[in-house]
Symmetry: C2
Subunit: 145 residues, 2 copies
DNA sequence: GTCGCTGCAAAGTATTTGCATAGCC
DNA sequence: GGCTATGCAAATACTTTGCAGCGAC
């Protein structure tokens, strides 16, 4: 199941002259198993369980690598620790200002028009995503401010 | 000119039982004079020039206060220090992955549809903005990666 | 055997907290 | 005069860097 992810990673690594190490495979596997948003800290905890001894710098380096390879994406949260999205395709997010939860959203927007607008400012757009801020169902019910 | 900002702030503060202090006014004034994106550090530097002795905790507290009052907004950058936008109305941003520059954009999107989409997930949307990632004109010309 | 990756430690950057004092209302 | 905001200092959180040794290729 998640073996596909590792194979793809191994191929990508080899073709760029990189190395396939157990640490990288373990982190990629964990990424593949999650369908949500994770912090470097969470990855560190999860990878330590199955491959003790992995260090934070390695986690950060691998996350950066996976981002470059397009396997994960950074979620623009506006504050707090960097969040990585294990879903790499273009989609959007809702961020609750009550509990800080980040929820996936497929927003009804025209990315082509968006990219065109960016181009007219001389900007070479690579990806675009919407960030909606507000209150999630739970926090709204709890009547947060 | 920027006196308006301070008056509005003073009124808002008084009506919520807050205090109108020189520190808050100075920071509000600086915000009013800038039309770009600033870090807490930059505000600290600018405010220190005209009102020496202001401390970082005060800067952070005041920025948070101004955010609550809707005078400034946080820019979801995805990494690095928190950026505040001195333009409080709903608009969007392009972030250059080469130089990290943040550029304003008024994206052609239908916020009503966006909010409706969020609602259908039980999310109470308050604001929405698009984050476009890519290369700015300068970095694209320099042929970054 | 080579060169990239890892682990360790440490530093660097960004932000928040606790508490006594000052000053706005 | 009461109560909030400030300043200072320190702590905390997060991320990056430098370097020596290991291990993938």
């Amino acid at each position: 199941m998640s073996g596909i992810v590792e194979t793809a990673l191994a191929d990508a690594l080899r073709s760029r002259g990189g190395r396939v190490t157990p640490q990288r495979l373990a982190i990629a596997r964990i990424i593949g198993e999650r369908d949500a948003h994770v912090t470097a800290e969470e990855i560190f905890g999860a990878v330590t369980e199955r491959l003790p001894g992995v260090s934070m710098p390695t986690v950060y380096a691998t996350l950066e690598l996976l981002e470059e390879l397009g396997h994960i994406a950074r979620v623009p949260t506006g504050s707090g620790p960097v969040l990585f999205d294990t879903r790499a395709d273009q989609h959007d997010h809702m961020i609750c200002r009550g509990c800080g939860d980040v929820i996936d959203l497929d927003a009804p927007i025209n990315r082509r028009r968006l990219f065109a607008a960016a181009s007219s400012h001389g900007f070479s757009a690579e990806c675009a995503q919407v960030v909606v801020q507000g209150l999630c169902a739970t926090c709204a019910a709890t009547n947060q401010r």
